[in-house]
């Protein structure tokens, strides 16, 4: 029963942490200023990019239509899923409430805001899944709240998308270890079985 109490206690502690993070729940994506930054993302080569190998050349600068520039403190650049990669995958869903939105989970770079045009050479990380993507840059104010954004694609998220192929995660050493352990398991069982049958036969003939 002590175990039960410890579980409840740890659950309550986790709950408290979650609740304390909830102060900024109501901020919505639709409130952000669209197109405040002009963002481009150029793949290093044509075709499907390989995670861990290929690069993206990302640039961002202040757009002429931006109005909230005074609040910009930091720029967060993220890799986001295109709609085709969100189909039948509710864990990548686009939500209006910013804290719930899961469509841009991969961080590329975070930089303090600078008036001049910025660029960054991004090598696709090895944990990027297979899919179709675009790049979005959020402008964040001093309180850590997003106030504006810009993205490398249009509003319908249909142009200038690029595809990434993930690493397989397999490795020859793993394959070999796997085969070795499997063979050992089956052999050990067979050896025991045959041995016991032999011993039982010997018992019977005595």
């Amino acid at each position: 029963m002590a175990i039960h109490k410890i579980f409840f206690a740890s659950l309550l502690i986790c709950l408290l942490f979650q609740i304390s993070h909830g102060a900024t729940k109501e901020r919505l994506f639709s409130d952000l200023e669209k197109g405040a930054l002009e963002v481009t993302a150029t793949p290093s080569r044509e075709g499907v990019l390989d995670a861990g190998i290929d690069k993206l050349s990302i640039t961002w600068k202040l757009s002429s239509t931006a109005t909230k520039e005074a609040e910009f403190t930091t720029i967060k650049v993220k890799l986001c899923y295109a709609p085709v990669s969100q189909v039948d995958r509710p864990w990548r869903k686009t939500e209006n409430e910013l804290f719930k939105d899961k469509s841009c989970p991969h961080k590329i770079i975070t930089r303090p805001y600078d008036k001049s045009p910025q660029s960054f050479e991004y090598t696709l990380e090895r944990d990027i899944p297979t899919g179709t993507y675009f790049v979005r840059a959020y402008a964040v104010d001093a309180k850590g709240h997003e106030v504006a954004f810009g993205q490398s694609t249009d509003e319908a998220k249909s142009t200038k998308l690029f595809s990434v192929q993930a690493i397989s995660g397999r490795h020859k050493s793993l394959d070999i270890a796997s085969v070795c352990f499997s063979v050992f398991s089956v052999l050990a069982l067979l050896v025991f079985f045959v041995n016991e049958k032999r011993k039982a036969k010997i018992e019977q003939s005595k």
């Binding site: 986790c14 709950l15 297979t130 690493i167 796997s178 352990f181 036969k201």
Partner: protein, 536 residues
């Protein structure tokens, strides 16, 4: 004189003369081999006439009873870890293999479907080869499938491997079979409840173990997409180690290993076709099949979906969702034994009727809390509902296996297998209907599953034993049919009875008089009518 200490009604002096057959299948009395004058002296725990232990001491490792218990539940525990090892890592796996929600759901169905067939086969394997080999086969032949997660590259491979890993859940049957031949009927509810419950805990432990292993392997330098594959070596390795322990330290029956006993003529081999026929012909087997499908079945489903549910609906982190999911499985530590113990307690006063009522109450209450879980929209309420749901459902699993050993003596293994298969069938069915389609949100799926479970628990009212009655009906008043010997003897043909093959069942029948309610037992003094010599 080795009397039963509790002075239980109806215990004849079987076992005292040392001339009775004391193994699970009997042979012709003339071919038996005499052992020492008091064969019960070599056991650490007090035993009954079948050499099954009458006392349960979980802190002991003594041969053969307690050792069988510990090896049994640890084997089952290891298999649960392997079968549900993928569930807490799904957020990583779905990215590596580019899975959709449908792919994930289908793999979940596959992970519990394989065991439907393997649990059926395991019942027969135990009856024919013994519990030790049943367990070892299950562990060591499925270990390669766990290791083969290294090779998976897409949804098809993932589904195939989860399907094959799921075969190892057959250890449930071999574990319950092993304890049923090692422990006396009066305590079997508690023993099976502990073995089953502590084994089921594996489903909870894996939700903590795998994310932790994954994290450590990542720290050691592996990329996430490789780390989860390496993590799978842990359950695979555990399976091999436990399999070897079972073979070297375990023993099939209280008096020895099955093959040795069979070869020396002390135990006869039963015919599979007969064993199968009597299991399938008995309608109670099928009611238990459905019942278990909606207690263990929904428990297995929850093992697959609950971590993702808390991760997605309440936006918890992977580790936090894992802790919550683990709590569900860990409640098994006390909840399932509680069910078995409650069943035994109820049997002491109300006999089999008490066992059936306890089963119905726990299962229905658990299912009602499952409905509440789906409706809960705040995290604390959801966790509370989940914990109460887990206790009810897991206790129902324990209570069911307080009833199952009494349904048949001849086909005990196969009935355990069929009931166990029912659990997996229920899980596959509920995952397919409620959690693999975009039609229901996971929350609605949970509530609907609970509602279906309430409905499918009603059939327990139809389980009737002529000698003990049922939930609402009294035992048969017919002089012959109201005897336990009649019920268990009816599994043998007249021919077989003449050869004395049914003696084990008769012995069991006498020991099972404990399932009469206290009122009936006191009023009735049974006379042995089996033809074995009584010592007067």
């Amino acid at each position: 004189m080795a009397y039963n200490e509790e002075g239980s009604i109806g215990t004849s002096l079987h076992g005292v003369t040392a001339r009775e057959q004391v193994f699970s299948f009997s042979v012709d009395a003339s071919s038996q081999i005499l052992q020492s004058d008091d064969p019960t002296a070599k056991f650490t725990l007090p035993v009954d006439s079948e050499h099954r232990a009458k006392v349960f001491n979980p802190l002991s490792f003594a041969k053969p009873h307690m050792r069988a218990f510990h090896l049994g539940w640890i084997s089952f525990f290891t298999c649960f870890i392997s079968t549900f090892a993928a569930a807490p890592l799904v957020p990583i796996i779905r990215d590596n293999l580019d899975l959709t929600k449908t792919d994930v759901g289908n793999a979940g169905v596959a992970s519990v479907s394989g065991a439907i067939f393997s649990r059926l086969a395991m019942g027969a394997v135990c009856d024919l080869l013994g519990a030790r080999y049943g367990t070892a086969f299950s562990l060591m032949l499925t270990a390669p499938t766990v290791f083969s997660m290294s090779f998976v590259t897409g949804p098809v491979g993932y589904l195939a491997v989860r399907f094959m890993i799921g075969f190892c859940l057959a250890t449930f049957v071999s574990c319950q079979y092993w304890t049923s031949v090692m422990f006396n009927g009066k305590i079997i509810g508690l023993v099976n409840g502990c073995a089953g419950g502590w084994g089921d805990m594996g489903g909870g432990v894996t939700q903590l173990l795998m994310p932790m292993a994954f994290h450590v392997i990542k720290l050691a330098g592996a990329t996430p997409f490789m780390a989860w594959r390496i993590a799978f070596f842990i359950p695979g390795f555990l399976q091999v180690v436990v399999g070897i322990l079972v073979l070297t330290l375990g023993q099939d029956l209280p008096d020895g290993n099955l093959s040795t006993l069979q070869k020396s003529g002390q135990v006869s081999k039963d015919k599979f076709s007969k064993v199968f026929w009597f299991a399938v012909k008995n309608y109670r087997t099928w009611i238990l099949f459905v019942l278990y499908g909606f207690s263990m079945g929904i428990e297995l489903t929850i093992n697959n979906v609950i971590s993702g549910y808390f991760f997605d609906r309440f936006n918890l982190k992977l580790q936090t969702a894992g802790i919550v999911a683990a709590s569900f499985g860990m409640a098994n530590f006390f909840a399932r034994p509680l069910g078995g113990y409650a069943s035994d307690l109820a049997a002491r006063v109300f006999g089999m009727r008490g066992r059936l009522w306890i089963l119905w109450i726990f299962q229905t209450v658990g299912a009602l809390f499952c409905i509440w879980l789906g409706r809960a929209s705040s995290l604390p309420i959801a966790i509370l509902a989940m914990m109460l749901f887990s206790i009810g459902t897991q206790a129902a699993c324990g209570a069911l296996f307080g009833v199952a050993p009494f349904v048949s003596r001849r086909s005990l293994g196969l009935i355990s297998g069929l009931t166990g298969a029912g659990g997996n069938f229920g899980s596959g069915l509920t995952q397919l209907i409620f959690f693999s389609t975009p039609r229901f949100s996971t929350a609605d799926g949970l509530s609907l599953m609970g509602a279906m479970a309430v409905l499918c628990t009603v059939p327990v009212a139809f389980i009737h034993f002529p000698q003990w009655g049922s939930m609402f009906l009294r035992p048969s008043r017919d002089g012959e049919r109201s005897k336990e010997e009649y019920y268990y003897g009816s599994e043998w043909t007249e021919d077989e009875k003449r050869q004395g093959l049914h003696e084990g069942s008769i012995k069991f029948a006498e020991n099972s008089r404990s399932e009469r309610s206290r009122k009936v037992a006191l009023a009735d003094f049974p006379t042995p009518e089996t033809g074995t010599p009584t010592h007067v």
